[in-house]
Symmetry: C2
């Protein structure tokens, strides 16, 4: 696997995102401009847009979601970045992580010094069943789809394999959802800005208001076991185990390392990048781990010269709750088969030893698929700079990590970020 | 506009392509493997696939054409390149030119030494009207499509503007088609392996065989003026002014300059790359030129340290015949308004001073949209190495150029190739 030294280092000096959610009246262009403007405003020492030299756009399927192809120059147009080179990259739900890597390589190549990296997706124009069909095109359509699988099914297969191998239960997965909604309740950009507990209380209040019988849920776990409140999508994955259908955009600004102090009082250095691919799920030897994630993580750690123990916190690809548990093992935070125990013990909570998905993750923050990988970077930027407000992890942070998966791991990208002061 | 120096040089050491055409029983995977195997076999000193470090795939819309997203890891799977990083890039019909540029930057970055760059498209599974709709998503769907335009209309508007400004006639465009079919008749990989004259004779013979009246076409121009033989698509663009709907794949192998002699007895160096973007057609000041092409060309010439006069031959993006004439002006081969005169005088023919589209171009070779940009590179590779057979330009060649356009110029990429021995 390739893991050479980059010709020069790259720093992150700005980050912004739209709110993630379902926005009926907005197009991907509108959301993109919101994120871009917030990115510009986030640059400590200011950026003149004329200094920008290229635009990378991660997007999964504007083609199928909005009937629009060739979106990179359109986003360049709407942000005033024409006639700069505008590049769309796509590796399904890892499209934005891929945009980040391509932006890093482009700066390292010497071609550019200042690059905008972004991700955008507008999913809610389609009815839900069409969204599921569109997402299913990220699998191997020729072989996997005729077998009756869509993504909840794939991850349910991984979840049952994991339960069988290691003893986790559906309750394990529920606890991941509870944690991520807890984190997301403190994120004003999150699609669900509420804990599961408060959503449960809201349902009770709504029933009371309508004069209907008030459901007798004792606590969150009781609520999550109610088939009507939390229906089974593909057992053991229930509704609250699945990330939502979302619209959103996220934009970051990368510069060559030597320019970092020109733009930022507190730049974040991207010291590790890893990427790997894989075949379809049925070709794998194992369902309880994503091999491309292990490979990508190892590349990133090796490049950064650190180990999993050095990572202070991570944003991982929790498209389903099982995916977060597997991710924490693939990234080397916990031994194989121990990630579910760590999750149950609270080790991955905001105040635990290895906080995971402080933003709320895809589960609560939302999952506009082609934007999610850069959305993760926005959280790392905020946490490392101590700007995450109510959800800020206490204490000094040095290393953050992002883990972005396409399909069931046909693609995985891992990046490592460092604060150096 | 950015135009920095790359951290290291890049060489082309292998190239292959599938036949372009309409292949009912084949998928994009089949065509990709054909092209990949031919590329491997083209490497003078051989390549062990284990030495390859990444795969870049240009593809416009596998999503809409085949209902398949996330195709980069699938192509990696079918060529045995998993678990290498597999990247899909998209800028409409310039997707493969974009893949080339991203591959160049990736090697220059220091991340990889050996990269496969490719393009693929499988268009003929859809009925023709659906293909036109799919291609139209490369325009600005929100503004341009409701105005009633699809691509033949856009280029017809450019053609009429050009005729009005400079005095060209529909016959000018016909002559471009005749030339490109002449070139393509000598290319065994071309979709139309025949001159327009021989297609005309074929029609006569077919009529005779069926006992129908034999059409009385005097010559090719007479044939091309026949509304039944060559119907108007969007005046002045007739059927034989439009590139066809095609399936195909093209694959090349890039290595860092210092490794060129390890793989090739006669490597080709990529000494210039340029890319620019633009807004929709209605936002432009001018319809007789593509501004992004002028910008991209200037970047590439500057990087290569040469001028348009140095270019021995070029493969340009003749999606419509008018596009070739405009390209030869945008690339600086002829003054604005003089390209049509050069075309009429035969200056761009195989034996003229500036041969254009020796492969037959998109017009005759075929236009599998996301593959075309790398298809152009395959021709440059063959011509510069003296391996183009019957259509080989006589004499020693040093510089070749490729010009790949997305949409009506929302994207343009230009690359310059050099033989050094």
């Amino acid at each position: 696997m390739p893991n050479h030294k980059l010709a020069r280092g790259v720093a992150l000096v700005g980050a912004g995102m739209s709110k993630f959610g379902a926005f009926k009246g907005k197009t991907s262009r509108d959301l993109f401009v919101e994120a871009y403007v917030e990115m510009l405003e986030s640059v400590d020492l200011g950026i003149n847009p004329k200094e920008i030299e290229a635009l990378y756009v991660g997007n999964y399927s504007c083609d199928l979601f909005e009937g629009q192809g060739h979106i990179a120059p359109i986003m360049a147009s709407w942000t005033g970045l024409n006639p700069l080179p505008a590049v769309r990259v796509e590796d399904a739900c890892a499209s934005a992580g891929l945009a980040l890597r391509e932006g890093i390589l482009a700066i390292a190549s010497g071609m550019y010094d200042v690059v905008v990296v972004s991700g955008v997706e507008k999913m809610t124009d389609l009815p839900t069943e069409k969204v599921t069909d569109t997402l299913a095109t990220a699998a191997d359509v020729q072989y996997e789809i005729p077998a009756g699988f869509t993504f909840p099914g794939f991850y349910a297969a991984m979840a049952t394999a994991y339960m069988h191998a290691y003893g986790a239960t559906p309750e394990t997965f529920m606890r991941v959802g509870i944690k991520n909604h807890q984190n997301g309740s403190m994120n004003e950009k999150a699609q669900f800005g509420a804990t599961i507990s408060s959503m449960m209380e809201g349902r009770k209040a709504s029933a009371a208001k309508k004069g209907l019988p008030i459901p007798e849920w004792k606590d969150e776990m009781d609520f999550l076991h109610d088939d009507r409140a939390n229906p089974i999508i593909a057992w053991p994955m229930r509704l609250y185990d699945c990330s939502p259908i979302s619209d959103g955009a996220a934009v970051v600004l990368l510069v060559s390392e030597d320019l970092a102090s020109k733009y930022s009082r507190n730049p974040i250095y991207i010291t590790g990048t890893g990427q790997a691919s894989d075949g379809a799920l049925h070709d794998r030897q194992i369902l309880t781990s994503i091999p491309s994630a292990r490979l990508a993580a190892n590349q990133a750690y090796q490049m950064a010269g650190i180990t999993p123990a050095d990572i202070d916190f991570a944003e991982v690809h929790d498209c389903f709750t099982i995916a977060e548990i597997i991710a924490t093992e693939d990234l080397g935070f916990f031994e194989p088969g121990k990630g579910w125990i760590a999750a149950e013990q609270g080790d991955t909570s905001r105040i635990g030893p290895k906080p995971i998905n402080l933003s709320g993750g895809l589960k609560s923050k939302g999952h506009p698929v082609g934007a999610s990988g850069v959305g993760q970077v926005v959280e790392v930027w905020k946490q490392l700079r101590g700007q995450a407000g109510e959800r800020q992890v206490p204490g000094k942070l040095r290393y953050g990590l992002t883990h972005n998966v396409g399909g069931t791991g046909q693609t995985c990208l891992v990046h490592i970020f460092e604060r150096r002061d």
